[in-house]
């Protein structure tokens, strides 16, 4: 008895079957495993919050075997961890188009006992860049209306075509599961493979939003880290920072964004107002002390 519902059911199952070859189970915490995706040959990404130990991590491969994995690095801010395994695996097929609210979304996971697992829902909201409460920046905010079970964090989120739009995490929002977008994952993998970590930019200033007499917004320097990047560039307490790398800055979030767009070690122009007169200084972005 063929019917359209049965055809849809079978199509969804086929999408799951195809994508399953790039989904692994990750064993790096007590009690629950989590899931991960072969993103590049020999590279598995998963949700950083599910990595509770950095040694003796193992993965259950799509074929059912178990393999050791090494922790290459991670970024708590975007909840992405990068693992290396010997097995090249079958890297996920990444989506080329952005998802839209209302599109069907499938979250896949793997567990050692029962193999691949799937949950179905929709993309419930989408917007531009979004800063997580952990301090990282996602290129897109992709909210999911589907149930994320404990072991499915870190697994791929697929669109109807079976392409991966990101990885699922329950740790970045209290109200819903999110998909960490593929472009953000690519950025983090590049940084982790190059440096072993995601370095956070740092100016060494304490700032407070203020309004200047001409109604322009800016950030007044209230404190200065001695020998910090800003101090070395000649910034003084009392300066009002109005733009950074050519972008107007009105609150501290703007600073974070400007620092992320450039990166540690790069020199950027800081426009400050001192005693009513504008002045341009060149600041070399430092690395936030203590960011591992």
């Amino acid at each position: 008895m063929a019917n359209e519902l049965a055809a849809l059911s079978s199509e969804i199952a086929e999408v799951v079957e195809r994508a399953a070859s790039s989904v692994a189970a990750v064993h790096a915490r007590p009690r629950f495993s989590s899931s991960g995706v072969f993103w590049r040959p020999g590279i598995i990404v998963t949700a950083e919050h599910t990595i509770r130990r950095q040694e003796e991590i193992t993965v259950t491969l799509p074929g059912g075997g178990t393999a050791p994995a090494t922790f290459a690095g991670g970024d708590a801010g975007t909840d992405i961890a990068v693992l290396k395994v010997e097995e090249p695996g079958a890297p996920a097929v990444l989506a080329t188009a952005d998802p839209a609210a209302g599109h069907l979304a499938l979250a896949l996971g793997r567990s050692e006992n029962s193999g691949i697992n799937a949950t179905l829902g929709i993309v419930s909201a989408i917007s531009g860049p979004w800063r997580t409460w952990r301090g990282g920046r996602l290129d897109r905010y992709i909210r999911l209306d589907l149930t994320l079970y404990p072991a499915s964090s870190g697994g791929p989120v697929l669109n109807v075509a079976g392409e991966t739009i990101g990885i699922a995490t329950s740790a970045l929002s209290r109200i819903a599961g999110l998909a960490v977008p593929a472009s953000t994952i690519n950025r983090v993998i590049d940084e982790v493979l190059a440096r072993g970590r995601v370095a956070r930019g740092y100016l060494g200033v304490g700032l407070q939003p203020v309004e200047l007499p001409d109604h322009q917004k800016g950030l007044i320097v209230l404190s200065l880290e001695p020998q910090g990047p800003a101090a070395q560039a000649g910034v003084l307490i009392g300066d009002v920072l109005v733009s950074l790398a050519g972008e107007a800055v009105a609150d501290t979030d703007d600073i974070q964004t400007a620092l992320e767009l450039k990166g540690v070690g790069q020199a950027i122009e800081a426009l400050v107002v001192r005693g009513g007169a504008p002045r341009t200084l060149s600041v070399t972005i430092g690395e936030r002390p203590g960011s591992k």
Binding site: N3, L5, A6, L8, A13, T119, T147, Y149, P150
Partner: protein, 269 residues
């Protein structure tokens, strides 16, 4: 488009409510044959004195035929003819992502429908090594014993439990086996896994463990998984090594019990 509504409507006619006279709770059941055989959960049909309510409101007394506690299945019979029997699907070919529909009487609402997808199929830690179906469907007490069906309305499993928010169902193939061959051998004991093996917490009077003179508190020197393997081995009797007595610095002697499994299966046939 032939939607869930149509599938649900047919499935409702094959779904019953199972009430126990003791008044404690009710569940659902699946009409397995047109002449009145109904499959439900063992935890729904605990003992005799059952009543089955059909989709059209008819209430019929039901007789308990067999129970398999380990698979949480029970079969009951009502005196009726020309019932709308459900058709089982081959649950061994289920794939994660397939659409499923559950019908039952969650919290007493007869004929309520919930839909979702198959989450995974496989063993669940601490629940033996036979596979269970996990489905992303919203179930509630009262769905127990009711059907989990695929997009064609064929029964793929019997809804049994809710674990971590997921619906858990006994695969239809196990229900088919149970109806045809009766319950799998059971030890007739409630076990608690410990590092050294499994401790007997409670014994079913007249069960295989009680007949072999095992007692509550005995420590069986094998894990529940190994025990289930032994029970499913097809042997008429199994030897179990166990320790008895208060754990102390003294070394307890390892005892052995021979548990006969035959009688149970015979009684159910």
């Amino acid at each position: 488009m032939r939607g869930f509504g149509e599938v649900a409507e047919r499935l409702r006619r094959s779904t019953v409510q199972v009430h126990s006279h003791s008044g404690r709770g009710s569940g659902s059941g699946v009409i397995w044959s047109a002449d009145g055989l109904i499959v439900t959960n063992a935890h729904v049909a605990r003992q005799g004195g059952l009543e089955v309510e059909l989709w059209d409101g008819r209430r019929l007394p039901a007789r308990l035929l067999a129970r398999d506690v380990r698979r949480d299945l029970a079969s009951v019979r009502v005196a009726a003819a020309s019932l709308d029997a459900a058709a089982p699907a081959d649950s061994s070919t289920l794939r994660p992502g397939e659409l499923v529909i559950a019908v039952g009487s969650p919290l007493g609402f007869a004929g309520a429908v919930s839909t979702g997808v198959i989450h995974s199929v496989g063993p669940i830690g601490g629940m033996g090594n036979r596979p269970w179906i996990r489905a992303q469907v919203r179930l509630a007490p009262g769905n127990s014993g009711g059907p989990l069906a695929n997009a064609e309305g064929r029964v793929v499993g019997i809804n049994t439990a809710i674990i971590d928010g997921l619906g858990v169902a006994v695969p239809a193939n196990d229900a088919v086996y149970f109806v045809r061959s009766g319950p799998r051998p059971s030890l007739g004991a409630t076990l608690q896994p410990v590092s050294a093996g499994s401790v007997i917490v409670d014994l079913e009077p007249g069960g295989a463990a009680a007949m072999a003179s095992l007692r509550a508190g005995d420590l069986l020197l094998l894990s529940p998984g190994e025990l289930y393997d032994a029970l499913d081995s097809g042997q008429p009797a199994i030897r179990l090594r166990f320790l008895r007595g208060a754990p102390s610095t003294d070394r307890l002697p390892v005892r052995e019990a021979v548990v006969r499994l035959g009688e149970r299966a015979a009684e159910a046939a």
